[in-house]
Symmetry: C2
Subunit: 207 residues, 2 copies
């Protein structure tokens, strides 16, 4: 049954599995990949893990099927899979980093990388304990803030927002913080399975 193949997207902090019905996450620090008995088709941005998985028979690296000339050499394979999933639009993948990529007529047009939400909060906390706030996603991005929590939240979110909306594209949001970011992009489509769609599409095209 081709449809029930297991896919896995491996990030810096977690394995994200999808079996065609349900998705689940496992911590990279505690999960043992040799415990998986079925065939798994994966992409990984985690070099140490990729090394280890190459020694396991059930784990198949999809990065070898990528048409790299359409992307760039050091581009994260997770970003490439998300781009493969759509024909047109802007993709925000909000994980430990937030990546923003533009696709036009099925072609990758470029993208940028922004620190993730937790990383930004940590950066502020380390600059000064006075800046140790949780980001607020409910703030008005058209009004310059007059309190510390909003000043920090606006700094992270309004800046990202302005750059994203100037592209005038349909917005797709995926990744662990997708639902948080969706609050500032209310017209966006949240799709937790976007990368898996790209992986599947690429397998059908090339495998």
């Amino acid at each position: 049954m081709e449809d029930t193949v297991t896919l896995c997207d491996i990030g810096n902090t977690s394995y994200h599995f999808y079996d065609g019905v349900e998705d689940r996450r496992e911590d990279v620090l505690t999960f043992d990949p040799s415990s998986v008995k079925e065939e798994v088709y994966y992409v990984s941005v985690n070099s140490a893990l990729t090394q280890r998985l190459s020694t396991l028979d059930q784990w198949h690296d999809l990065s070898k099927y990528v048409a790299w000339s359409s992307y760039y050499e050091t581009m994260g394979i997770d970003r490439i899979m998300a781009c493969e999933a759509i024909e047109e639009g802007l993709i925000i993948d909000a994980g430990s980093a937030i990546t923003v990529d533009v696709v036009e007529a099925g072609r990758f047009m470029g993208g940028f990388i922004y620190p993730g939400i937790a990383s930004m909060q940590k950066a502020f906390r380390e600059i000064s304990p006075k800046l140790d706030y949780k980001l607020s996603f409910e703030l008005d991005l058209d009004k310059m803030p007059k309190n510390s929590q909003d000043a920090i939240s606006y700094g992270v979110l309004a800046t990202l927002y302005r750059e994203v909306i100037r592209h005038n594209k349909k917005i797709y949001i995926t990744g662990g913080d997708a639902n948080k970011l969706a609050k500032i992009f209310p017209s966006a489509t949240v799709d937790e399975l976007l990368l898996f769609k790209g992986m599947k599409k690429m397998m059908e095209k090339r495998c």
Copy 2:
């Protein structure tokens, strides 16, 4: 001689002195404030240091002269001094944090806080060693990047740029990274002494 009073702006990492002629910086970790013999009028965002300076006779805290109702309670005193320096415009203070504040007709209209350049580079480095790059300030902010260094630089700088320019204000840049940021805001006025101008103006008004 009133004109030769010594001013000092104390941040999270350095003392910044100005005697009306020259400015110099001292590291907060190594400089001994009791070694200063002249009278010093200062502002400080460094709580531990403010505590200590309050016990030294030559050190005079200017924060007590601030009309706090025009600002907000937890706003950094350095941002307030920069705002006091101008009648109209947008101020970027690029230090360990980057603060952006808007002043209209002499009134503070609100502002936001963004991590500083070093803090952003550290955030990327900690997310993944693959993102360990120095920011490039020479990149084209109208072109979506297709390499890692530009993707990160664009993430930090294009986002900040879009939010700043939408205010359509004259831009003033100050702080340790002022000259770096001036590369993406070529029409901005770089003024390393902006805070001191605000401090002096406020002393003349209220002391």
